[in-house]
């Protein structure tokens, strides 16, 4: 009951705040104050009533799913000697209580930002590294929980006009920038686009709101994701990295990963046909860790050559001897590892707030693989033969050990729908080209995809050069295209292409571009590094694939040149000024005249003064005469 009263107090507080807010608005618009006040009061009363109702609903439905929290860690060994660790944290809160700022498991800091910026659905990504689809197979979550290198953000903002949406987007990016210690505030109009074909809302939005929703998308390919982004990320979790699977997350390990992606998705979920909506927040961290690299002790991370006795050699070679060794392929054997090896320490119990029906740790290995778990943990094997999960004892540390084992059976690798690669072609300072190679590995199915590029304004795309080739032959596979040309210093190019790639074929998309010359001050301090071009996004239904980002070298001026010019001009000016000044103020006299100089000078001066006086006098007289 105490809970109820507390909520009530909060509710009344909220409504009070609402009224207060409206009253302040009133001051700004005094002409329609009276009418507004009436409406506002009525609205506030209604809101209070509604929230009371919903609260009653919460209280009277036992173990409602309105505010639950799940977390799960999924481990999947990858070839060769790598480990994919996927952390998934999910909590729901009812939309109604969210609107009353009753957040519970939903992070308040993020919730208030979303409310302030009228954001109905949010997707934020921090990524680093590159997913090697050839050896690692399909991406985790079908690529839905990852972004391009750097930071990627897209959101559906409720607004009545484009301008209002832009304003709210600006609010959102600036607020998130502060929250996540990332340069999100640099997502300005030149980096923001409004995708037309590529992104679809994941959440359920009512028909009335969806017409007012504006999709905005921004990327920061240059942003280096690091610990300062991880800390605020962990703070959003109910257990804040202190207990449960999040206790395994450590900046040193996460950012040493070959590939890592952090994501936050906020979306409303509604039951079909009812108004019972919930706001769902999903946070995931996926990382691919190198087992050998992770196993190195932190105080001695240098990969020194191993002792000769530990060298694994092919002894079948006839030249094999004590000083000659043909190295054996290390990847043939399953390596030994444990949680403590990989993450630096073992798992510190479960998060007490998490839903107990979900097993917190799962691993995708064949059932034949030996996995030893610490005491108190229960193993549940899956029927598929390749997955097992562990339920943990709440207060005990959990450790899992996979010993070295020779095993031929491997968990099957899921084939990606598409392999995508993008690179620059051509050279020089003036122009270049981009080539995207998309390969459909499937032998039977064609793939319908949307290819989206966001290019900076200084990369001027020639649309007429956009060509698609299938297996080296020109063929018209482009079904639909959306192109929004760049405006200098205002917005970037947006290109979306819908195309079909037939089974077992390769499509090469190429286009040419011209490099613009920037203004002197528009170059970053490391101008000669080049400029990052955001990854292309390839959308296939709800699966997204991103290419790597590109480094675009632009013509750079010699930055020491202005300095040289300044020095040179200053010298010339000083010389010429000195010369002329000398000529003006000095009088050059012959040496023999120099002795009588003072007398003569005085005489001359006096004469000049007299003359001047005389002339002035004379003039004055003339003027007087005229008048």
């Amino acid at each position: 009951m105490s809970n109820f009263s507390a909520s009530r107090i909060r509710l009344s507080l909220t409504s009070y705040l609402n009224v207060a807010a409206h009253q302040t608005q009133q001051h700004q618009q005094p002409q329609c104050a009276q009418r507004d006040r009436d409406i506002n009061l009525a609205l506030a009363a209604m809101r209070l009533f509604l929230s009371l109702l919903s609260l009653a609903g919460v209280l009277f439905t036992p173990t409602s799913a309105s505010s639950d929290y799940h977390e799960q860690l999924n481990l999947r060994p990858l070839h060769p000697s790598l480990l994919l660790a996927s952390f998934n944290f999910q909590s729901n809160t009812s939309l109604a209580s969210f609107e009353q700022q009753n957040f519970r498991y939903f992070p308040r800091s993020l919730g208030q930002i979303l409310q302030h910026a009228n954001t109905r659905e949010l997707h934020l990504r921090f990524s680093l590294g590159r997913w090697d689809a050839e050896s690692w197979g399909a991406r985790p979550w079908g690529g839905a929980r990852e972004g391009g290198t750097g930071v990627e953000l897209w959101a559906w903002v409720e607004a009545e006009s484009d301008e209002e949406a832009d304003g709210r987007w600006l609010t959102l990016t600036n607020a998130l920038s502060g929250l996540f210690c990332a340069s999100l505030n640099f997502i300005d109009s030149t980096r923001t686009i409004r995708p037309v074909m590529s992104f679809e809302p994941v959440g359920d939005h009512s028909n009335t709101t969806i017409s007012d929703l504006h999709l905005l998308h921004g990327t920061l390919p240059r942003e280096v994701v690091c610990t300062e982004n991880l800390t605020p990320f962990l703070k959003l979790l109910p257990c804040k990295g202190k207990a449960g699977i999040s206790s395994l997350l450590d900046g040193h390990k996460l950012f040493d990963a070959s590939w890592q992606s952090m994501s936050i998705d906020v979306q409303p979920i509604c039951e079909a046909g009812s108004n019972n909506c919930q706001l769902q927040i999903t946070q995931t961290i996926d990382m691919v860790l190198d087992i050998q690299r992770s196993k190195r002790p932190r105080d001695n991370p240098i990969p020194r050559p191993v002792a000769e006795s530990e060298l694994k050699c092919d002894t079948s070679k006839e030249y094999h001897s004590h000083d000659t060794c043909f190295p054996l392929d290390a990847a043939a054997q399953e390596e030994e590892w444990s949680l403590a090896h990989i993450f630096g320490h073992s798992l510190k119990g479960t998060c007490p707030l998490a839903d107990e029906s979900t097993d917190p740790v799962c691993i995708d290995v064949p059932h034949a693989r030996h996995v030893y778990a610490s005491e108190g943990a229960h193993e549940h094997k899956d029927e598929s033969g390749y997955k097992r999960c562990f339920s943990l004892a709440p207060d005990k540390e959990f450790e899992m050990i996979l010993p070295e084992q020779e095993i031929s059976e491997k968990a099957p690798l899921e084939q990606p729908l598409l392999y995508a690669e993008r690179s620059f072609i051509g050279y020089g300072q003036e122009s270049g080209g981009v080539q995207a190679i998309l390969t459909n590995p499937s032998l039977t199915d064609s793939v319908d995809f949307v290819y989206m590029e966001t290019l900076p304004w200084f990369m001027k795309l020639y649309l007429h050069t956009l060509k698609a080739k299938i297996n080296g032959l020109d063929e018209d596979i482009i079904k639909e295209m959306y192109y929004r040309p760049a405006l200098d210093r205002k917005r970037g190019t947006q290109l979306e292409v819908r195309a079909i790639i037939p089974a077992n074929s390769t499509v090469v998309l190429t286009y040419d571009f011209e490099k613009a010359i920037l203004r002197y001050t528009e170059y970053p301090p490391d101008a000669n590094r080049g400029f990052d071009v955001a990854p292309a996004v390839i959308t296939i239904g709800n699966i997204a694939i991103r290419t790597t980002s590109l480094l675009l070298p632009l013509p750079t001026p010699d930055f020491s040149m202005p300095y040289n010019v300044i020095i040179l001009t200053s010298t010339v000016m000083a010389l010429s000024f000195g010369f002329i000044f000398n000529l003006l103020v000095r009088r050059f006299v012959a040496l023999d005249e120099a002795d009588q100089w003072d007398v003569r000078a005085v005489r001359l001066k006096a004469l000049a003064a007299l003359k001047r006086l005389a002339s002035r006098f004379g003039k004055g007289v003339k003027v007087e005469k005229k008048e």
Binding site: P80, L128, G129, R130, D132, E134, T149, F255, D256, A257, S258, D290, Q292, R293, P301, I302, P303, R304, P305, V306, A307, E308, E310, L311, C313, D314, K317, Y319, H320, D323, T324, C325, F326, P327, L328, D329, A331, E421, S423, F424, I425, G426, Y427, G433, Q435, D526, A527, N528, R529, G530, D532, T548, S549, L550, L551, P553, T556
Partner: protein, 618 residues
């Protein structure tokens, strides 16, 4: 105003002033050559230094040692076993090795056709993905299967394999590392770099796997088994382009500072730091730059603004292959540190020894002065061509007076009073001279085409026929010219003026791109400044004909091949290869700039100007 004009005109015709230009232009040549000769002195060259602070050469510990040597020996045995095997078979094995190290491997077939020969092969390369990188930048480690001399690069390739395995263990790489093993040292690297930038010709496969922008390339050329003493660094690119000096300095700093291995340049195996050695190093460098050919697999990278060098261990010493590996390791660590593309240091320099250089600002005046000599003479001849036949006494007396004598000029109804000296000026008839000069330049396309499209077997024969024709042609052309047009001495002057003007303009432009070529061509055609027809002085004429014949492009070529003991066909084949594969443009300079100027010079010598009241003295 008229006084000023006339005094300008008088000045122009001052006999004392008119005597100056020939001496001035001669002075230019002398100073130009002397300038070059003083460069090796301490006061005119500088010690090298690292400009790019990010490089930090030799600041890291190197760990390539210990049991990795056993691995190296293992790979070495494997490479030895592959000696003499076919390209594909070799690459199958190499692919296996790279894959076992956990790298992505791809191959590329190429085929070039030049001088009737086919150059084909298959490159193989492996990409080590930067552990946390995003394929934005890459550095390349190249080990050609055979080196420029055609020897099997056995230790080099084994070292690349061992280093690939070793580098894979490190997680600090910020750039992708590409390990490239090309089938040869000449066509293979070019095919690969071209395809990397998608500018490849027909017959060359596209690269199946790519990485980011190339930031640098290091080539290992280590074709022997024994220990070595020092490292020879080869840095010349195609068309005289050079890698950033920072890259070279980094390697020198690492080799000599960190590892205690000496570094030498331009095949100066023993460099005693004397004036003579410095000059020899510089001149050898200039010769290589002037020829503009590829001096190693690294040369093909440089036109794409990828800084590259070749490292060749040499001599008998106590440094082993692991020391070489550590030099590479440390160099790669330095390149890995780079935040920006190498741009801080010089791209135009001449090296005296591994730690001394002169930059473009210091050496450029030398070639410029040689080029300016032609321009001065051209302007002088232009002015001179309009002046009346020299009657020195009259002009001298005219200059002594304050005002020039005036005369009446009438044209139709219009009348004008002009100074006499203006009226005396001759009209320049320059259609014929221009036609001769432009024609001879266009004619240069003929040998250019001939030598780049003749099959190899016929090249020596074609060369000798051309050489003979080359000596007959100017006389023939001169005879035709005299018979059909009977050029006046003024026209001969103008022919020379235009020819020299063009030469001067071209060489001064070229000096900024390929200093050495501009200087060498300038020096070899310097006598052209003083060539004119000597009617009635057969001994002088014969002497000059002999001199010019010695300095003809064909004679110089012949002398060069004899001096370095090379076959004519071989060199011409190489030149055609350079034209077809490397995009070398030395030939254009030789046949379309130098040769036409020489032909025009010969035509002058053989010419008989129509007498127009006395000959003109220069």
């Amino acid at each position: 105003m008229s006084g000023l004009l006339s005094s300008g005109a008088l000045l122009r015709r001052d006999p004392r002033l008119l005597k100056v230009p020939p001496y001035l232009s001669f002075l230019c040549i002398v100073i130009g050559v002397a300038w070059l000769l003083v460069l090796p002195l301490d006061n005119y060259s500088r010690k090298t230094y690292i400009s790019e602070n990010a490089l930090l050469p030799g600041q890291v510990h190197t760990y390539f040692a210990g049991s990795d040597q056993n691995v190296f020996r293992g790979y070495k045995k494997e490479v030895d076993a592959l000696e003499g095997k076919g390209n594909t078979e070799v690459n199958d094995k190499l692919e296996e090795f790279f894959k076992a190290s956990g790298l992505k491997v791809a191959r590329q077939k190429y085929e070039y056709k030049s001088a009737g020969e086919t150059y084909s092969g298959e490159n193989i390369y492996a990409i080590l993905h930067a552990p946390r990188g995003d394929a934005e930048e890459a550095i390349v480690l190249v080990g050609a299967w055979t080196n420029v001399e055609g020897e099997l690069n056995k230790s080099g390739v084994a070292l690349v394999l061992t280093l690939a395995r070793y580098f894979k263990r490190w997680s600090l790489w910020s750039k992708d590392i590409i390990f490239l093993i090309t089938a040869d040292s000449r066509a293979g690297p070019q095919a690969w770099v071209d395809a990397y930038h998608d500018t490849h010709q027909k017959g060359i496969q596209s690269l199946p796997v790519k990485s980011g922008a190339l930031q640098g390339a290091v080539v290992i050329d280590y074709p022997f088994d024994h220990r070595f003493e020092s490292i020879h660094i080869v840095y010349d690119g195609i068309n005289g382009q050079l890698p950033n000096l920072d890259l070279l300095n980094t390697v020198v700093a690492i080799a000599s500072g960190q590892m205690g291995i000496g570094a030498s340049l331009q095949k100066m195996w023993r460099h005693t730091d004397t004036y003579k050695d410095r000059l020899t190093t510089m001149l050898r460098g200039m010769l290589n730059q002037g020829l503009g050919h590829a001096s190693g697999p690294h040369s093909s990278f440089i036109p794409y603004h990828v800084d590259a060098i070749t490292l060749q261990p040499y001599g008998e010493g106590w440094q082993d292959e692991m020391a070489m590996g550590r030099v590479i390791e440390s160099t790669f660590r330095s390149l890995n540190n780079l935040l920006e593309h190498l741009h801080q240091s010089f791209f135009f320099y001449l090296l005296m020894q591994s730690s001394r250089f002169v930059s473009i600002g210091t050496y450029l005046p030398s070639a410029m002065l040689v080029a300016i000599n032609f321009t001065i003479m051209a302007i002088f001849l232009w002015v001179k061509s309009a002046s009346p036949p020299a009657t020195a006494g009259k002009v001298a007396s005219a200059t002594g007076e304050k005002s020039a004598p005036l005369m009446l000029v009438q044209e139709g109804d219009a009348k004008a009073l002009v100074p006499e000296i203006f009226a005396e000026e001759k009209e320049r008839d320059f259609f014929l001279p221009l036609a001769v000069v432009v024609g001879s330049h266009f004619l240069g396309v003929l040998p250019l085409y001939l030598f780049n499209h003749t099959p190899e077997i016929m090249l020596p024969a074609v060369f000798f026929i051309f050489a003979v024709m080359n000596f007959v042609f100017p006389f023939l052309a001169s005879t035709v010219l005299t018979r059909s047009f009977a050029p006046t001495s003024q026209q001969y002057q103008l022919i020379k003026a235009f020819s020299l003007l063009f030469l001067g303009m071209f060489l001064s432009t070229l000096a900024t791109l390929n200093f050495s070529l501009a200087f060498l061509v300038g020096l070899l055609s310097a006598p052209l400044t003083y060539i004119r027809s000597y009617p009635g002085r057969p001994i002088t004429t014969v002497f000059f004909i002999g001199l010019l014949s010695l300095l003809a492009p064909t004679t110089v070529f012949l002398a060069g091949t004899t001096y370095w003991n090379l076959g004519i066909g071989e060199v011409l084949k190489e030149a055609a290869f350079g034209w077809d594969v490397w995009g070398m443009n030395t030939q254009v300079v030789v046949w379309c700039v130098w040769w036409p100027a020489w032909v025009v010079g010969m035509i002058q010598l053989a010419g008989k100007p129509k007498d127009e009241g006395g000959s003109i003295k220069i």
